[in-house]
């Protein structure tokens, strides 16, 4: 250990570990909603991903002959949790495992480990999965308690053995096809209806969409993205704790809202309403927990605003004009690329200059 004699000799007590644990804590409400909607299956996925990410991280550190106690900083566990929350509940276990290895090895350790990854590891891994397994990554398991489902869900997800079978052996083990137990997400539904020439308003009407259910989270989607309420609770905790600042979440969500409102005002039949955009898909999860990943976002307040606005424009554009129904993930990753440039050009004003 080098003996430091330089000031300051006091410290505020912040640490990487404390920050990572705070984010994990802030994600617990969303994880709770996931368990409420998807039962044991959500729990299995979350535990599997967290353990797999930590094990992979440990292996990488061991291979690179770095101190393995780095695992204790909690960053790998957080990546695992974030990745799990972005997965559809019906993904096979081995797919989640591939995602975990991709997140830690491809998106993090090859760049030099914590602090050096240009992309958010969880999102990069999700892209790997989405491109490799497009069918599974866009098949949303029918959740429990979703009022818009006319029939009761085909599977009782609170039953341990059902979920155990489904998790390890897939729906075939229960004698059902993937189609029979999954449904479209609101965003996916709107996209499909558009391709059939039906406007957003009409599409939402025949989907039986409700803002309240979207806010509370009683709809189809990835494990942790459905409930804006749970995510907001966690986000406010992080803001109050000063782990994140308001710049990225606010500018991100506000940009999506404003863009959607503008186009919706011009052609309300075709373009989806702004509130739908805000509550749908992974926007709240992405804005509060993904885009704010410190390593892959800008460091300066102004840069963070630019970053958030860029994410917002890209998200709305991909959702409206792109090939994928959801654009949050791609928008954040694309803006991650721009971070070095943003950091270079949007520095704070130096005192006296």
């Amino acid at each position: 250990m080098t003996l430091l004699i330089s000031s300051p000799h006091a410290h505020g007590g912040d640490s990487i570990r404390a920050n990572m644990l705070a984010v994990i804590l802030a994600l617990l409400p969303a994880a709770g909603v996931a368990v409420y909607l998807f039962g044991w299956l959500a729990l299995f996925l979350i535990v599997l991903c967290m353990l797999a990410c930590m094990a992979t991280e440990w292996g990488c550190l061991k291979l690179m002959k770095r101190p393995t106690d780095r695992i204790g900083d909690g960053s790998a566990a957080l990546t695992g949790l974030l990745l799990a929350l972005t997965l559809p509940a019906a993904v096979p276990w081995w797919m989640a495992l591939i995602g975990c290895v991709a997140a830690i090895v491809l998106a993090k350790q090859v760049y030099g480990g914590l602090g050096h990854n240009p992309f958010n590891p969880a999102l990069a891994a999700r892209v790997v999965l989405l491109i490799s397994f497009p069918l599974h990554m866009t098949s949303w398991l029918m959740p429990m308690h979703a009022p818009m489902l006319i029939a009761i869900p085909p599977l009782n997800l609170y039953d341990f053995s059902t979920c155990w079978q489904l998790f390890w052996f897939g729906p075939e083990a229960l004698g059902k096809g993937l189609d029979a137990i999954t449904m479209a997400s609101p965003l996916g539904h709107v996209k499909t209806e558009w391709s059939r020439g039906i406007g957003a308003i009409e599409a939402l009407r025949n989907y039986d969409y409700s803002y309240l259910d979207a806010f509370l989270g009683r709809e189809a989607g990835s494990l942790g993205e459905t409930s804006a309420l749970a995510l907001l609770l966690g986000g406010i905790y992080l803001l109050a704790r000063h782990t994140i600042t308001w710049h990225i979440p606010l500018s991100f969500i506000a940009t999506v809202y404003v863009l959607a409102a503008l186009f919706n005002a011009v052609n309300p039949e075709h373009f989806a309403p702004p509130l739908f955009h805000v509550l749908a898909g992974g926007l709240v999860l992405g804005a509060f927990f993904m885009a704010t990943d410190p390593v892959s976002s800008p460091v300066t307040p102004r840069g963070q605003l630019i970053f958030g606005i860029g994410c917002g424009i890209l998200t709305w554009s991909i959702r409206t004009f792109g090939g994928y129904p959801e654009g949050v993930m791609f928008s954040i990753l694309l803006m991650n690329c721009a971070v070095p440039l943003i950091d270079h050009y949007f520095r704070p004003r130096v005192y006296g200059k």
Binding site: S7, H11, L114, A240, H247, D343, P348, V350, Y351
Partner: protein, 529 residues
């Protein structure tokens, strides 16, 4: 309440709440705020470094064995930016030698050793200037210069230089810096409580010397008693043009540039002085010292120091003679055994860790903090990778991007470092304080600044050598050209005499020979030079 909430959520950047950008609020630990200043006894020996200020080192005026009186000048300044040293008590000079001084390197500097005779007889050659208001400001500045007064807030810049009048930039406002934003330190706080009148008179002397129209006493809101006392003293003295301004408690509120922005709303432009925005900043302790020098005729021979930290049994504010060994001062506060104790010279945010304990207390010492080894953060910290959280950017009062800057400094990319405004860093330590990865950012910046200074020095030396050798080459070439010109002139004069052609031809060869000889001689001379 609301501003605090804004700050917590980072909203203060949306709606500026006044003051300087960034800053932190560390736990104050002002445990000595209620302990009155204690006058310490004389130590068995005083050690007086000949350089206790920014600038040139002083030259001793006394010899070993000589007897000196209290307040007698014992070392004179040798340059313009310098401050003389005075004997803190009467006694005998017992040595002029190198001794360790309070410096993070533990290095030695020439010091005068004085053994007090215990009588403490004063040198009465300097009369007080009690009617300073009718005195020539130049004379007051000279008195301040002769009294060896430097900025006692820690910067130790000779005070008289700051008070020079500049016709183009008149000083409108004198700011008395009583912010004392460093944790633990309470010496300025106690000075304001116990010597409010003297401090204010000192401020009045400054205002008279620079012809300022108004004055501001700046105090952080964690010292309500000092604010009340100063307000009362201003009223009692009838100083209508002086006001007390309450500042939010936020480190580094007491930094000169930060204070000026909080008080005036203006930033000191880059490369300029506070003077250029019409402001003069002086520390509370400096004002007291100026009062003593001008109104009492006593030079800077003692100062108030806060002795605190978790290893000190009886923390206190003490008034000590300059040159008193630090172990002696600590022993007076109940700390005898300095093994496993870490000493900080100054406050915890900007103070230096002292690698050697047997050093004297100097003009810049505003506090001595003694911590148990295990409770000193800077010794326990283990650096982790930067996670780019941006907290350092938020808190930097200079508006820098510390994480990027540290990256360049650590990799010896000093050009990039300067591109990231390395030299605008004021080393306040806010970035290191908030860093979750425990990166010693300030350490890297200091390292880089030192390296840049070294490189600049080497470059300047190389350029000087180059200029010298070029000048020599030019001189030689010029001399040769001059000789050639002279020669051809002579040739032309002789040319019309055609009948003497044969003789000229002979002469030419002679001249050529002597000419060549001369060139060689010149060359030799040049080599010698």
């Amino acid at each position: 309440m609301l501003p605090a909430l804004f700050e917590r959520f980072g909203l203060n950047q949306l709606w500026p709440t006044g003051g300087f950008p960034g800053g932190v609020h560390p736990p104050e630990h002002k445990i000595t705020a209620d302990s009155p200043i204690i006058e310490l006894p004389l130590p068995p020996q005083l050690i007086l470094p000949l350089k206790q200020h920014i600038g040139e080192i002083c030259a001793p005026l006394v010899e070993v064995g000589q007897h000196v009186l209290r307040g007698q000048k014992i070392a004179k300044s040798q340059g313009y930016v310098s401050a003389s040293v005075h004997a803190p008590t009467s006694g005998t000079v017992v040595g002029v030698q190198d001794h360790a001084v309070p410096h993070p390197s533990g290095m030695g500097r020439p010091c005068l050793m004085i053994e007090p005779d215990g009588e403490d007889r004063p040198d009465e050659s300097r009369a007080p200037i009690s009617d300073y208001r009718n005195e020539d400001p130049a004379l007051i500045r000279e008195r301040i210069r002769m009294s060896g007064i430097v900025g006692l807030g820690g910067a130790v810049f000779p005070t008289f230089i700051k008070m020079l009048r500049d016709q183009r930039h008149p000083v409108q406002t004198v700011i008395l810096n009583g912010a004392e934003c460093e944790p633990y330190l309470t010496c300025d706080h106690r000075l304001m409580l116990e010597h409010a009148h003297d401090v204010l008179r000192g401020m009045d002397v400054i205002m008279h010397a620079v012809n300022a129209q108004n004055g501001v006493v700046a105090i952080e809101d964690n010292k309500p008693d000092a604010i009340a006392v100063m307000r009362g003293a201003i009223e009692a003295a009838g100083m209508d043009n002086v006001e007390v301004r309450t500042l939010p408690t936020r480190y580094p509120q007491g930094g000169e540039k930060q204070l000026i922005q909080t008080i005036t709303g203006k930033q000191v432009p880059e490369g300029r002085l506070p003077l250029h925005v019409g402001v003069l900043c002086q520390n509370v302790g400096t004002a007291k010292a100026i009062h003593d020098a001008v109104c009492l005729g006593v030079p800077l021979i003692k100062r108030v120091v806060t002795i605190s930290g978790d290893a000190v049994p009886n923390p206190a504010n003490v008034c000590v003679r300059i040159g008193t060994p630090i172990p002696f001062v600590l022993a007076q506060c109940g700390l005898e055994d300095l093994n496993d104790v870490r000493l900080i010279h100054g406050g915890p945010m900007m103070g230096e860790r002292l690698p050697r304990t047997h050093v004297p207390l100097v003009k810049s010492t505003n506090g001595i903090l003694a911590f148990h080894r295990q409770s000193l953060y800077s010794e326990q910290a283990v650096e982790e990778p930067c996670i780019r959280c941006g907290h350092c950017v938020e808190v930097c009062p200079a508006g820098l991007v510390p994480n990027e800057l540290a990256w360049h400094c650590r990799n010896d990319q000093f050009d990039r470092g300067q591109d990231y405004n390395l030299f605008d860093c004021i080393e306040c330590g806010c970035c290191s304080y908030v860093c979750p990865s425990h990166i010693p950012l300030v350490h890297y910046f200091r390292y880089a600044k030192g390296q840049v200074a070294k490189i600049e020095k080497e470059r300047a030396f190389a350029e000087l050598s180059k200029a010298r050798s070029e000048a020599r080459d030019n001189r030689l070439a010029r001399e040769q050209a001059e000789r050639a010109a002279r020669r051809s002139k002579v040739r032309k004069q002789h040319a019309p005499a055609a009948d003497k052609a044969a003789k000229t031809a002979e002469k030419k060869t002679d001249e050529g020979k002597t000419g060549e000889g001369k060139t060689e001689a010149v060359k030799k001379e040049g080599d010698k030079a």
